[in-house]
Amino acid sequence: MQRKVNQKAWFLVLPVFLLVAFSAVIPLMTVVNYSVQDSFGNNEFFWVGSEWFVEILNSDRFHDALGRQLLFSGIILAIEIPLGIWVALSMPRRGWGASVCLVLMALPLLIPWNVVGTIWQIFARADIGLLGHTLAAMGIDYNYTQSSLSAWITVIVMDVWHWTSLVVLLCYAGLCSIPDAYYQAAKIDGASRWAVFRYIQLPKMQRVLLIAVLLRFMDSFMIYTEPFVVTGGGPGNATTFLSIDLVKMAIGQFDLGPAAAFSLVYFLIVLLLSWVFYTVMTARDGAEA
């Protein structure tokens, strides 16, 4: 759609601009302020320049949290994307079956995040949980409060449970936009199931898949509540991801300077990713217009 140039449109955007500026820019300026100062209490601050940034970027603690975060995001993408595609491909396309599938699958997406944590806590505990109890009965040594491996598996399965449906829903929306004629043509040509997937379904899903990958990556990159409720970042620091570490530093230890520098580095990483996301989204809009 061709859009007219009209500077008065700024008046329509102004309320959003002011509101988001209030809730984003002012807090962010506070963070910037802290990140370049040090304090010994009494509200006396003095300039330290880039000291905190150097400290954070060179600290093992930040590297470890970032490493765990990337590993976590990588693993869940590797599981959720193929699983989501596979489920979406085999879902019924129309009728009541499709509606029921959609509703049941979307249910985990609407559960408050701390309740997701609670659900998995109850489900995975060895004494009272269905999963924990079954595994224990099978003789498998599983205890997410003691062993880091169990904790990792719990957190990953929980995230797969929570968010794979998002990938399913997006892929399903992409698949539904393929006209029947494509399939009929493929049938006439005698195309195999694989060929249909590779040359019809996958190209049509390309953009939704890209959106799904980016959304899942970014949301998993800032995951906080679910692992916090289930493992509290433990055992030890095994499941301490970036957000959990940051909140520990800022609220728990009240290390304002390092926490602020940490926030800004974290925010810049996210900003870079957002830019990739934005480019993908708007490139699609342009292609369709």
């Binding site: 449109a9 955007v13 807090p27 979307a106 408050p112 995040w113 999963l131 449906s165």
Partner: protein, 266 residues
């Protein structure tokens, strides 16, 4: 062939439902039954846990507080997002692309980054522990979300409608309210649903900005875990009750849910 294909979604749904089933059985058991032995279903189903929540003010006030700030947030978000989304979908203006991107970057911003500054900001202006503070703080990610979703729906409405209305002598205000808004009614519904939902599921910011008077249900639940650590039945019942609002509305948005999660871009 058909049958073998349908097995995958079935298995997937069973995988999704098992933890939920377990939550529900826990909510229907007494604490002694939970801790005394393992059983697949409640032997003596009881509603006592739900009764505890619905009669104890420290529990049900959590639901009321959550509902108040979520509704406030939804109203604020939608009412400021509507004109802005219209501007983005119809006009080009100075800095529009940068502004659109800036909004998105707030949707993607980790709440953990904003926890401390929010706490200080709202404390310093005397709004700490009020519903409006949480509602405003949640605008950080809900306003961008609403703008993006509404823009997606509005771009689907042909521009000729605007022009025809103008020729027919409608002022911009009456055109927007009486003609345009009904046209994107489903879009407004979907945007409102997603604002409601994302504000409802968020814990970190809501917990940081409240202590007593506006404490959300999510924070009440975490407190109970750490304090007694054993009251699993009540905790499960509280969990079940937080799922109910989403579960009720989900049927109405099922066809738009992918669009909502993808920021109006599917």
């Amino acid at each position: 062939m058909i049958k073998s294909i349908r097995i995958t979604p079935m298995l997937y749904i069973i995988f999704l439902m098992l933890p939920l089933y377990w939550l529900l059985t826990m909510a229907l058991k007494t604490n002694t039954e939970i801790l005394s032995g393992f059983s697949l279903w409640p032997k003596e189903p009881t509603l006592a846990n739900f009764k505890t929540i619905l009669t104890d003010a420290s529990w049900y006030s959590g639901y009321i507080n959550s509902t108040i700030y979520v509704v406030l947030n939804t109203i604020i978000s939608i009412s400021v997002a509507l004109p802005a989304a219209y501007a983005f979908s119809r006009y080009r203006f100075m800095g529009d692309k940068h502004l659109f991107f800036w909004l998105l970057s707030n949707r993607m911003a980790p709440p953990a980054v904003f926890v401390l500054p929010f706490f200080q900001l709202y404390s310093s202006i005397g709004l700490f522990d009020t519903h409006i503070a949480v509602a405003l703080a949640h605008c950080l990610f809900n306003v961008p979300l609403a703008v993006w979703i509404l823009e997606g729906f509005m771009s689907g409405v042909p521009k000729e409608i605007d022009e025809t209305a103008q020729i027919d002598g409608y002022s911009f205000g009456s055109f927007f309210v009486r003609i345009f808004m009904p046209l994107i009614g489903s879009g407004i519904g979907v945007a409102a649903f997603f604002c409601f939902m994302f504000s409802w599921v968020e814990l970190l910011i809501a917990r940081t900005l409240t202590s007593v008077d506006a404490k959300p249900i999510a924070a009440v639940m975490t407190r109970t875990v750490s304090a007694s650590g054993l009251d699993w039945g009540v905790l499960a019942a509280a969990g079940v009750l937080t799922i109910v609002p989403g579960a009720i509305v989900i049927w109405f948005v099922r066809n738009h849910i992918a669009k909502g999660f993808a920021l109006g871009r599917v």
